[in-house]
Amino acid sequence: MELTHPEDIKKHVKVYITVFVSLLALTVITVTISYFNLSVVPAIVAALIIASIKGSLVASYFMHLISEKKMIYAALGLTVVFFLVLIFIPLLAMSDRIH
């Protein structure tokens, strides 16, 4: 990240604190929702949406992905593609005739 002036860093510190508070709040929300006894699909959707928001906050701000170099985006873009392939492999098993 192109940060050289202490003043810039101080501004970023405020962002870090906001992200931190948001992460704690989202944790409380996701735990609360889990006690609502929702049926399986809405429960999974809600939990995964909240986890994705939390994950994006960590990656974007704590890991500085919001302002990174192209080379890193390229490497991570490729990783996302392969990750999705990996995650959707179990769906192939579901469409298997034996299953």
Binding site: H12, F20, A51, V58, F62, I72, L86, I87, P90
Partner: protein, 194 residues
């Protein structure tokens, strides 16, 4: 031999080598944990029944907060170095390491309880995948704590001779630590809440 591009960015990538290196390593880590999440989905959709809320949710919620807090202390340790405040760096990095210990201690109590009542990996598919995923994550926490402890202790001498390089090292160590936090952010709902 001098390692190139440790403090100045390499012209073609625009990055210091260590940063590109850690991101490539983290990409491989995404695939490692991705394979386990994929296995989890396969096991779960194939299971006749799946336990709900059998793990200690309040304790794991506390542990989630502990790990999130350790992430902000980690980023603050880097920000302190960027502001040339070495003493603050030591405090924040020390806090990150201590929070790592708190996380492991809570996990120890959780594991002990499971073992005491016979909930071991061979008990069910759920406990097999629970111990595999949380165990691997715990090893990552321990690895991060070892690196962070080195940079808090003997490794911090570099601040006096090459402050820019040392700051970059903390940023890179931080990227790893935040990744460990990020994995837990997904493990927590998947294993404890759903």
């Amino acid at each position: 031999m001098e390692i190139p591009y440790t403090s100045k960015a390499r012209p073609d990538t625009g990055l210091i080598n260590a940063k590109l290196g850690i991101w490539l390593f983290l990409a491989s880590e995404v695939m490692l944990f991705g394979a386990l999440f994929s296995s989890y989905i396969l096991l779960r959709v194939g299971a006749v029944e799946w336990p709900h809320h059998v793990l200690d949710v309040p304790l794991a919620t506390v542990n989630t907060a502990v790990l999130i807090t350790s992430s902000i202390t980690m980023v603050m340790s880097w920000a302190s170095l960027m502001m040339k405040e070495f003493k603050k760096y030591k405090i924040y990095m020390g806090a990150t390491i201590l929070l790592g210990f708190v996380f492991l201690t809570i996990k120890y109590f959780e594991y002990s309880h499971h073992f005491a009542i016979g909930e071991i990996p061979s008990k069910s598919t759920f406990f097999a995948i629970y111990f595999t995923m949380t165990g691997l994550h715990m090893l990552h926490v321990i690895g991060g704590m070892i690196v962070n402890s080195y940079f808090w202790g003997p490794g911090s001498k570099m601040w006096k001779t090459e402050p820019e390089r040392f700051t970059n090292r903390i940023e890179v160590a931080g990227l790893y630590w935040h990744f460990v936090d990020l994995v837990w952010i997904f493990l927590f709902p998947v294993l404890y809440l759903l």
